[in-house]
Subunit: 347 residues, 2 copies
DNA sequence: TTAACTTCCGGTAACGTTCCCAATAGATGC
DNA sequence: GCATCTATTGGGAACGTTACCGGAAGTTAA
């Protein structure tokens, strides 16, 4: 099969110049209606389709946008990707999707690919706070997730961690739980610090000494949560154990560890997750968790990017509120309090 | 900030012509080593980065590939996307990702976007068997998932449904189960027919009359499986109920329905899934399922596409074997068989 | 010394599109 | 009737890159 028809072929077929054909096809008012119709017919007849490479070349607008997330396989990020995809699509553009695997080099390489593809903008969840990479990025971008503070002048969307943590702790208090143990992400990740800080703040507000909190590190994976929970159970063998996990995957891993240890959730151990991944609804018991508005995050990040590019006024940093989803992984300790609870909830 | 440096800027800075600069940067042998080094330095100093739009325009190779799947949010398809992403990335190209939501119009629109972006090739899971759309697609593509038969001359990758069903039924027989009830996808989807056909074949091989099988339709969603299971339990109130679900999401929904009905899995109801989604490992009991090699599917589809474009010989249709993952959702009926089993397993 | 050959480099064209400018024809105003 | 204006069109340039062609040196062989 031969080469794709160009606008010159269309022009020839319609018996006009390529300028006129281009005008007709781009809805310019400076073209006679009869001519336009003629050109349209020729375009359809020849199977012409605009070459976006050439358009981008000429206009500087490639119609391409980029998304760099840690892992498309992670249900949270898949939702984010979907949200971004939808908004980008509504604006007639296409989305290049990359997974960085939380790896600096991969991220850098993806950013380079985006620049070379001349994307009009990018949505990025930065691996960490290497501000230089983005200072020199050279492409409009919006940030998603954590690590927004470093870039006061670029739009950034995230979940409202403080509000989410408050929601979680309030709920725990209402259910009669003491200060929960924490399973956090790795120290290298920004989100960890933010989560921990919020927990501390809220503990102080409730006159709980943060130093009392048991803390274990995970790596945001199922296995990591599983291992962290095992360590936690080894550290506290008696009484009801309440655990607040920094993400759902670790919470689900923790749940497995509980079962394997012959303990039962929520009877012996209460688990609160954070993310709102679908799998949390399938576990047994269902995972009580704080849901991040993942898809909306993606949509807003994309929208902010379009606003930014169009020069529309920006909100700067935006934090979307999270929602508590109550399923079955939290005991209600207000009913019959076990004897040997570690610490006691006040208020 | 000014405009991006072009190869002309680099050439000027290095004191050579743009031809020489281009040669130097593209590792042509026809350039002096000293000159090459000079140009490289100038490129780095100016922050030059190749404009892929222009390269694509000139060479006809855009460095872009497309992926059209039903929904990036679906964990199976996310895995496929990741596999494709990896292979495409290894080849120095980028991947445009689209979700069709099983909608013809969206699919058509995505395919058009792909063509306009001048992707070098595309990986598609077609919404249905509208052969015309692809006959006229005009871009090399490989198919993934079902509906491959329509295109004997294009590479296509899928899971080996027959082998998978055999695996499942063999396992059920070994565990002492009779012919299972089925929860299938909607009639409009190709995969349904293929799955059902395989079940029938294997039943006949085992002297089981396929007409005996209870069948309910779902829609591949959690809710659909939930509802289908309720109908199934209403139809068969006594004895151990064994259900083979056409995908994991429905299986998980079915599991919930079982619990809600006060029955217990696997004691009263055995459930076998199909897909191998991660969530199946988090449910309780863990979902015994047949795992499709999702990521490998994506990798192979991408590889096939590259092979096809490079003119390397093709296998045509490839079906990758599936793997049974035994977790806890299947009872072992060979131990103490309940009295009123519906039908009896032969062998 | 000259011819042929190698090595390296510069100029130009082309990819497909859109934008700017000029040109044509008809219409309008005086 | 002539200038001016409007509506519509065509021609050419430019976006950034690479491929091709030819030329200028330097090198080797006779």
């Amino acid at each position: 099969m031969g080469r794709r028809p160009t606008i010159i072929d269309v022009a020839r077929l319609a018996g006009v110049s390529k300028s006129t054909a281009a005008r007709a096809l781009s809805d310019s008012p400076d073209v006679n209606d009869a001519t336009r119709e003629k050109v349209r017919k020729a375009a359809i007849a020849s199977g012409y389709e605009r070459n976006h490479l050439a358009v981008g070349m000429r206009s500087g607008r490639s119609g391409l946008f980029g998304l760099v997330i840690p892992d498309i396989t992670n249900p949270f990020w898949a939702e984010v990707a979907r949200g971004a995809q939808d908004i980008v699509g509504e604006n007639g553009a296409s989305l290049l999707v990359f997974s960085s695997d939380w790896d600096h080099d991969r991220e850098a390489s993806h950013l380079r690919a985006l620049r070379q593809a001349r994307v009009e903008g990018a949505i990025v969840n930065p691996v960490s706070d290497n501000a230089e990479d983005f200072g020199r990025f050279g492409v409009p971008f919006s940030l998603i997730g954590s690590s927004a503070e470093r870039f006061p002048d670029t739009p950034s969307i995230g979940s409202d961690i403080r509000q989410a943590v408050r929601l979680g702790l309030d709920h725990l208090v209402a259910r009669g739980h003491a200060a929960p143990a924490l399973i956090l992400g790795p120290k290298s990740r920004l989100a960890r610090a933010r989560f921990l800080r919020s927990v501390h703040e809220h503990c102080l507000e409730r006159d709980i000494d943060p130093a009392v909190l048991l803390v274990e590190d995970g790596d945001y994976t199922f296995e990591g949560g599983h291992a962290a929970m095992q360590r936690l159970m080894a550290r506290q063998r008696n009484g009801h154990l309440t655990v607040f996990c920094a993400n759902d995957l670790m919470a689900l891993g923790a749940m497995l560890a509980v079962r394997e240890a012959g303990r039962e959730c929520p009877r012996d151990v209460s688990i609160l997750g954070f993310d709102g991944v679908p799998a949390g609804a399938f576990s047994w018991p269902g995972l009580t968790t704080i849901e991040k508005p993942a898809r909306e995050l993606g949509r807003r990040a994309a929208q902010a990017l379009f606003d930014e590019i169009a020069g529309r006024p920006q909100d700067g940093r935006t934090y979307l509120p999270c929602r508590l989803i109550e399923r079955g992984s939290l005991a209600d300790l207000t009913v019959h309090t076990p004897l040997r609870v570690a610490g006691a909830g006040r208020s």
